[in-house]
């Protein structure tokens, strides 16, 4: 019983990391149709932000709480620059976007290496996140619980913005019908920028979060980018509820497979499962028409 709960929670926890990494993508890839391979590097930037903030604020608790908004800002600004300098010229060319952002990802990785060095750095978790809580006899690490909560808060925030505010209506309007949005007086340029800022900012927050469960290196982003895209595609491009279900399903399945086999066999099983699923249901769990993909 404890084992089962422990595994379930490990899965949920993995799912929440995937969700954090994928939430931003569900905006930039899902809503806008931009394949941003540098999304993982925005996470990496967020992680290093946490590291830098902790160097200036030594209290681990305060630095974590400061890092989250600063990480959002850093990720968001990187996204804004990428959008303004490169992406806006290629909204109708998804393949070019893929190559360009892959190049940007490499540049960012090298930049991180030059600034922070190749070896990984560590961010201390605050004292109040060290240790475990017991859930029905199974030990649950507090850091993992924190990430789960953070991902749910980010999710709730994103849903409120998208569904409840004029900005969210605008973002959805621009996705649904660009010409009609423009002739209704909405600046699609401004909306694109804002959407990309928020999506990239969420990557930054995800980066801050993963410093709690592992060390931070220049190639941190590459660990997450593929899984994040898998979550968005399996969930149905442009569908946040799909991404949520996909993230937690993938997390739980992966931890179950890994437990009953090995880490690499588990990964293989997951990928096979996704390939089969997408063969049967190419549009993902839910589907929505977006402007340039799917």
């Amino acid at each position: 019983m404890e084992l089962l709960i422990g595994q379930m929670f490990a899965g949920l926890s993995l799912g929440s990391v995937l969700l954090l990494a994928a939430l931003g993508l569900s905006l930039t890839f899902g809503q806008m149709g931009v394949i941003n391979m540098a999304h993982g590097e925005f996470m990496m930037a967020g992680a290093y932000t946490a590291f830098v903030v902790q160097r200036s604020i030594s209290d681990a608790g305060i630095s974590l709480l400061v890092s989250i908004p600063v990480g959002f800002l850093v990720g968001g600004l990187l996204g804004l620059v990428l959008e303004a300098v490169l992406l806006r010229r290629m909204y109708h060319r998804p393949l070019d976007t893929l190559l360009v952002t892959f190049g940007v990802a490499l540049i960012l990785q090298q930049a991180a290496r030059d600034i922070f060095g190749a070896p990984s750095v560590d961010v201390r978790a605050p004292a109040w996140l060290q240790g475990n809580v017991e859930l029905l006899g199974a030990p649950i690490p507090l850091t993992r619980l924190f990430i789960l909560l953070l991902s749910l808060v980010c999710l709730a925030g994103l849903v409120v913005v998208l569904k409840g505010t004029p900005l969210g209506r605008r973002i959805r309007a621009v996705v649904l019908n660009r010409d009609l949005a423009e002739t209704s007086g909405i600046s699609t340029r401004r909306t694109d920028q804002l959407t990309f800022f928020i999506g990239s900012g969420l990557a930054g927050v995800a980066g801050v979060a993963v410093t709690l469960i592992g060390s931070t290196g220049p190639y941190l982003g590459t660990n997450y980018i593929v899984d994040a895209f898998l979550v968005v595609v399996a969930g149905g491009v442009g569908q946040i509820k799909g991404a949520v279900i996909a993230a937690f399903a993938l997390g739980v399945l992966q931890s179950v497979f890994e437990f009953s086999t090995t880490a690499s066999i588990g990964k293989v099983l997951i990928l096979v499962l996704i390939v089969v699923f997408l063969q049967l249901r190419p549009q993902g769990i839910f589907s929505l028409k977006t402007r340039s993909l799917a």
Binding site: P166, R170, D179, T183, S184, I186
Partner: protein, 267 residues
């Protein structure tokens, strides 16, 4: 009933408003070329506030392209002057905010948003950044009135994509009303409607046109005869004839262009 502010009483007439200084849309030398093919060839067109102008012509005459050019969706040369303000060359959303609204040939609404959300988007293009994140309570009176005018009050919370075709076209018109457009460019607003819906739409167009600059693209000559106060005939990208329905129907050049097509003499 709320007091009508979107649709003041009145009837459209040829030549536009009799009193005051009517607003106008003055198109001069408008030319659109796609890869060397001239779709719109130095078109001159004047539409005055209070006139219900129809734009007719055979398929491929460039009618929709003219509207695309005026609203900035396709690049064009020449001049489009809206009551003293040059609008050609501005960005699409800036032109919209200058009061130029349009509908699309295929009924275009934001399908996955509700009727109310569609109207709300149209009503608030100039919203300030800090208002964008605020959830608002209640319904804008203009939006409420538009819902009544287009008969969708009870469908306000339905997804726009689930509306009947005719209702979508009405929603498009409602969006233009709350958008506060004083220039309305309507691309086949009655396509696919039943006879009753056509009549209702025609009456609505008359009420709208009484106080606005209205240009309607339409194929159905019965509808044009019944509701137009003036007509411009376009063929092969050029203005062929202009005047009342009777005048353009008597025009030899127009008869030539329509010879062999079912257009001019009705269906």
């Amino acid at each position: 009933m709320t007091t009508p502010t979107l649709l003041p009483d009145g009837e459209p007439r040829a030549g536009g408003l009799r009193h005051g200084r009517p607003k106008y849309l003055e198109v001069r030398g408008l030319t659109v070329a796609f890869d060397g093919f001239v779709a719109v060839d130095s078109v001159n067109l004047d539409v005055i506030q209070g006139d219900l102008r129809f734009l007719i012509g055979p398929n491929g005459a460039g009618k929709t392209t003219i509207i695309d050019a005026i609203t900035g969706l396709v690049p064009a040369t020449g001049s489009v002057n809206h009551t003293g303000t040059e609008i050609l060359g501005r960005k699409v959303h800036k032109i919209a905010r200058l009061g130029v609204g349009r509908t699309f040939q295929t009924a275009s609404v934001f399908e996955n948003l509700t009727v109310l959300q569609n109207l709300d988007i149209a009503a608030g293009p100039g919203r300030k950044a800090r208002e964008l994140l605020r959830r608002r309570k209640g319904v804008d009176p203009a939006v409420q009135e538009a819902l009544e005018i287009i008969g969708l009050t009870r469908a306000a919370d339905k997804q726009a994509g689930t509306l009947a075709h005719g209702q979508k076209q009405w929603l498009e018109i409602g969006m233009l009303l709350v958008q506060n457009s004083d220039v309305l460019l309507l691309d086949e607003p009655i396509a696919g409607m039943s006879q009753d819906e056509r009549d209702e739409t025609g009456q609505l167009l008359r009420r709208i046109a009484a106080s606005r600059i209205t240009l309607v693209i339409e194929h159905d000559m019965d509808f044009v005869r019944e509701f137009a106060t003036s007509v411009t005939v376009l063929a092969a990208g050029k203005v062929l004839s202009e005047g009342s329905v009777a005048q353009v129907q008597a025009d030899k050049k127009v008869q030539e262009v329509y010879l062999g097509t079912a257009g001019m003499e009705g269906h």
